[in-house]
């Protein structure tokens, strides 16, 4: 029963609570209850939505008791594997992530506040599916993949096909996100995450830009460039046209300006549109410069 009229009260609606101990158990419950159930990880998004009476799930499935979902593993061949329940704080402070996937650490550190980062999980941040999720641009440019598990088995979905429309992802009702898989970037690569907030310093992201660049062995050409944007379109996106302009070219100020402008033109912001486009252009330029400097 929706009580959306009374969202101002901020009281939680009643629900049934389940706490599976294994992934299989969780998948069984999801299979059984489907759309009437929601998974709770950090709870920082879910409980807010429920208090505002945007959703009133009958079943809440707490997966935090499942031990094998909280980890950060790295090997050069397999890349980075992060369990969906790794908190944003643990990813942000992980030395391996900071060292080899720095832009993701930066992005995780940007989310929310210290309290939110202690509670919120990277899996939760991704499954929220909103246009402004800070972790996603980095995952897009790192070409991450997501492991989704259900009773039917498991499938691996690339991040850039995971987001369908605002708050709607490819995760179906009976599935659980268990792992984020990030391949090791090519040699002579580096990236960064830059953002501007909406109003104050600690605030939602107005424009988020992640860039990953690879230089050729001589160090003069941009062998590859990936640009990920959040908060400027219905879902986080890659600015592929802008990437095309720079891929394989020599880095020059005029070209970067152009690339930045094309990236801005690829955005479809819903509000504060002019300012968002202008800032997209600015941040793409700054991010490209920062990423490029950090390779050389």
């Amino acid at each position: 029963m929706s009580t959306s009229n009374l969202g101002y009260l901020l009281t939680l609606p009643r629900f049934n609570y389940l706490a599976p101990k294994t992934i299989d158990e969780a998948c069984s419950l999801l299979d059984k209850y489907g759309g009437a159930a929601r998974v709770i990880a950090g709870g920082t998004d879910l409980l807010v939505s429920m208090k505002k009476r945007e959703i009133s799930p009958q079943y809440i499935i707490n997966i935090k008791a499942i031990p094998e979902l909280d980890y950060i593993h790295y090997s050069h061949e397999d890349g980075l594997k992060i369990g969906a329940l790794a908190t944003l704080q643990s990813v942000a402070s992980s030395s391996i992530v900071k060292d080899k996937f720095g832009l993701l650490a930066t992005a995780c550190k940007k989310v929310g506040t210290p309290q939110v980062r202690n509670m919120g999980t990277i899996g939760g941040n991704i499954c929220n599916g909103g246009p402004s999720q800070d972790t996603v641009p980095s995952l897009l440019v790192l070409e991450a993949k997501l492991k989704l598990v259900s009773l039917q088995g498991e499938r691996v979905v690339p991040v850039d096909s995971f987001f369908i429309s605002p708050f709607q992802t490819a995760l179906n009702q009976a599935e659980l996100l268990t792992e984020i898989q990030i391949p090791t970037p090519p040699p002579r690569s580096n990236g960064c995450y830059q953002w501007l907030t909406k109003i104050t310093a600690v605030d939602e992201t107005l424009v988020g830009v992640a860039v990953l660049m690879t230089s050729d062995s001589a160090g003069g050409l941009c062998k590859d460039i990936r640009i990920g944007l959040c908060s400027v379109a219905p879902v986080p996106i890659r600015a592929r046209q802008a990437e095309e302009l720079l891929r394989g070219k020599k880095i020059e100020a005029d070209l970067i300006e152009q690339v930045a402008q094309v990236a801005a033109d690829e955005t479809r912001p819903r509000s504060r549109a002019n300012y968002r486009r202008r800032m997209t252009s600015l941040l793409v330029k700054r991010a490209i410069n920062e990423a490029w400097q950090s390779i050389r």
Binding site: M1, T3, N5, L6, G7, Y8, L9, L10, T11, L12, R14, L196, K198, I199, T200, A201, V202, D203, E204, R272, N274, Y275, R278, M279, L282
Partner: protein, 783 residues
């Protein structure tokens, strides 16, 4: 400068320990036996008729103990302004129509919050939406939807109850006008005619939220004798007592407002709120205590905002910068009910008068009903809006005429000894010296006008130290105890500003006791004498002076007793550290304890009780005219000079306030820590007002009613801060003190606006100053 032992010292606050340990009980922390939880059903429409309300299903829900609607709370209206000219226009629960989104329609008391929420969902209200009006200039036009028709009082008005012998009369609403003011001095046309240069500009200030960290809350408990006990988050015992009594139809003295900790107020908790009445109505109906804690969203939508204003300023000056004339026209948009509209328009004027010596002025204001949330005082109440406009324009005039803006201000500022047109005399006035010191400390001349996206700006403000408003004054009692410790009774509410500490300091100093020899009983309406409250900037100047007088009275009695015992004359005696001794022979001394015990024995159990009273302006009775602005207003003004330094990022148009310097004339600072705290608080709050804060409404609905979308400064948003201490002494204030809590905010906002303009070379005419407004202004500059 006289030497004091307790006042003027940076004493740590007396309520610090209880707050840092989490023991302090705020009203929402208090649980009474058998307590119920209340919740309120609010209108989703900005303007609608209420056709029918069916509460049967809600009443039938297990755990629900009472459901009330407008027919239960009745036709007694309330309002911050309830005078013959402006009868109160608000109801605890809507009767026949709703006028804004969030207006109270029904209320429920249940065994827990979840049940109360579920009960609200079962109340069926049939509304008939009707056309609404949101823009005040549209609302003024003929044919605009009528927010109110005629307001017909059903009882005596507050003024009548408070002894002003006039009768309530109906108010016919024409063109949605809820209030008008018109005040003038000199000859405005002549003033403009004599000016060499005239400038007219229009500024717009939106509604903002006080956003105190503690949400609004009321706990009400009727006992079987019909006595009402309440715990509230509030700013005035007397106002709450009076209106609760009136709305519920019980004697004022049968309402006890208990002492409770209050989590910030900033003017946002002075209003009379439906939730307070509803907790009491529900308690009376159920015979059980009822606690209503509002959600943060309810605080944003229904607990009043600061006044929306369109400020039109026209100023005429001589070519040397001497101000000849100023015409200010305000359009005030207080929302669907009058709120404090006539007061804010009066104060917008009254807070301008003490700053610059303007020989000819005309201040006009019109308050207009719209179908939006209601506006009430917020820290400065009218001053921030008009200072933003007037100080911005002064800078523009300086630029147009090639004059130095700080010098321009110095040329026109008022001086100590000035008498204002209404008769108020500035016995202390630190404006001129404040400007000088601020210029010096900030290296103003070096930095001003450099451009390059760095700017420095100045703003001036003035604030009263108490004015006539119910209950028109404060009293205090100092009771000596047989152990020589004094108990101080004062009704001043402590909501963070440090009044508990300051009052204790004043009593201690006057009595010659150390602070730990004062036991404080504060803010309980049954135990404490009348108090003017903490919303008129009267804390130190009025309540503090009452405390000092009560302590002085007790001291006098102690001296008289000591003189008797020591066989000396009072003039030969002195007081120090809980003892009275003969000046010429200090070994001849008595402790307070000895004196009290002696008095009990020798004077028929007189244990020595001192009392003191103070009125804000002793000579006047009741009020100045809010609409005409005549009559004495306050006995002392506080003054602030703020200088802000900013940096604007040319690529993002983001403004960073680097440093705020405030020279504040608060007379003698009773507690330098409190003074510093108040000014720093306003430096940060002003930053928020200037750059971040705005209540955004779409079709009458507030779309940012949460801290996620309405952003107040966090730790990374604050400027560096410098305080230039005052050295003025206000002769009529306790130990020379006067107001400090709400003057500077307006000066800071104006200073930041002027600094931004200095940095980027264009003017923003509305608050907050956003990056988009800056880019737009820069783009238009070329055209």
């Amino acid at each position: 400068m006289k030497k004091y032992s307790v006042v003027g010292k940076p004493v740590v606050r007396v309520d610090g320990r209880v707050k840092v340990t989490g023991q302090a009980e705020y009203s929402g922390d208090i649980t009474l036996p058998n307590m119920l939880h209340g919740k309120i059903l609010r209108s989703p429409h900005p303007h609608a008729k209420i056709i029918k309300i069916n509460t049967a299903k809600a009443e039938a829900l297990p755990g629900v103990k009472a459901v009330i609607t407008g027919k239960d709370t009745g036709p007694v209206r309330f309002g911050f302004v309830d005078t013959p000219r402006y009868p109160a226009d608000e109801y605890p629960l809507a009767i026949d129509k709703v006028r804004y989104v969030g207006e109270e329609v029904a209320a429920v008391a249940a065994v827990d919050e979840i049940t109360a929420a579920e009960a609200l969902d079962l109340i069926e209200v049939e509304y008939e939406p009707i056309p609404a009006v949101f823009d005040p200039e549209e609302a003024l036009k003929d044919g605009a939807p009528k927010v109110h028709e005629e307001i017909i009082p059903t009882t005596t008005c507050a003024w009548e109850d408070w002894g002003v012998a006039k009768q309530a009369r109906p108010y016919k609403v024409v063109n949605n006008i809820c209030a008008t003011t018109s005040m003038s001095y000199g000859d405005i046309e002549k003033g403009f005619a004599e000016s060499d240069y005239v400038r007219e500009d229009r500024f717009v200030v939106p509604a903002t939220s006080h956003a105190a960290m503690e949400p609004h809350v009321a706990l009400a408990s009727f006992d079987s004798s019909g006595k009402l006990d309440v715990w509230l988050s509030h700013m005035s015992l007397a106002l709450k007592q009076y209106w609760l009594a009136k709305t519920l139809g019980i004697p004022v003295s049968k309402v006890r407002v208990h002492k409770a900790f209050i989590g910030g107020a900033f003017g946002g908790k002075i209003n009379l709120f439906p939730y307070e009445f509803l907790a009491a109505f529900l308690s009376r109906k159920t015979g059980r205590p009822v606690r209503i804690v509002l959600s943060r969203e309810e605080v944003f939508t229904s607990c009043r905002l600061s006044h929306r204003m369109i400020v039109n300023v026209k100023t005429g000056v001589k070519s040397d910068g001497t101000i000849m004339a100023q015409h200010v026209k305000l359009i005030n948009d207080p929302g669907a009910y009058r709120g404090s509209s006539p007061v804010v328009m009066f104060l917008a004027h009254a807070f301008c008068n003490p700053i610059y010596n303007i020989p000819n002025w005309l201040h006009e204001g019109v308050g207009v009903y719209t179908n939006k949330a209601i506006c009430m005082p917020r820290r400065g109440h009218g001053s921030p809006q008009t200072r933003f406009a007037a100080e911005s324009q002064l800078d523009m005039i300086a630029e147009d005429l090639g004059l130095e803006p700080a010098e321009l201000r110095l040329k026109n500022v008022r001086k100590p000894g000035d008498v204002l047109p209404n008769g108020d005399r500035l016995d202390s006035c630190g404006l001129g010296i404040g400007v000088w010191k601020a210029m010096e400390l900030t290296r103003w001349k070096e930095k001003r006008g450099k451009g390059n996206n760095q700017g420095i700006g100045m703003g001036l403000a003035a604030m009263f130290s108490g004015a006539a408003y119910y209950p028109f004054g404060s009293g205090a009692v100092v009771k000596l105890n047989p152990d020589g410790i004094a108990t101080l009774f004062t009704g001043q509410p402590e909501f963070g500003q440090g009044s508990d500490t300051a009052m204790s300091q004043i009593a201690a100093e006057e009595l010659g006791l150390t602070l730990d020899h004062i036991v404080l009983v504060s803010a309980d309406s049954e135990l404490c004498p009348i108090d003017i409250g903490g919303f008129l900037s009267a804390g130190i100047f009025v309540s503090g002076e009452a405390v000092r007088r009560a302590a002085a009275d007790a001291k006098q009695q102690l001296l008289a007793n000591a003189a008797e015992i020591l066989e000396a004359r009072i003039d030969d005696l002195d007081v120090n550290n809980g003892h009275i001794y003969v000046k010429a022979n200090p070994e001849k001394a008595l402790s307070f304890s000895e004196i009290v015990r002696n008095s009990i024995q020798k004077h028929d159990a007189d244990s020595i009780i001192g009392k003191g009273f103070c009125k804000p302006v002793p000579e006047i009775e009741f009020y100045p005219s809010l609409s005409k602005g005549t009559g004495r207003f306050t006995d002392a003004y506080g003054f602030s000079v703020a200088v802000a330094e900013v940096e604007v990022d040319p690529e993002t148009a983001r403004v960073k306030v680097l440093e705020v310097t405030i020279a504040d004339d608060c007379g003698f600072g009773i507690n330098p820590l409190n003074v510093h705290g108040q000014l720093l608080s306003q430096a940060v709050m002003g930053t928020g007002d200037a750059l971040f804060e705005e209540i955004v409404t779409e079709d009458g609905q507030i779309i940012n009613p949460s801290f996620a979308d309405y952003k107040i400064p966090g730790v990374f948003d604050i400027p560096k801060f410098r305080h230039i201490p005052t050295e003025s002494i206000e002769p009529k204030g306790p130990f020379g003190g006067k107001e400090v809590g709400e003057c500077a905010r307006a000066a800071v906002i104006a200073a930041i606006a002027n600094a931004v303009s200095d940095a980027i070379g264009v003017r923003i005419y509305s608050l907050p100053i956003t990056p988009e407004k800056i880019f737009e202004a820069l783009e238009n500059k070329g055209k």
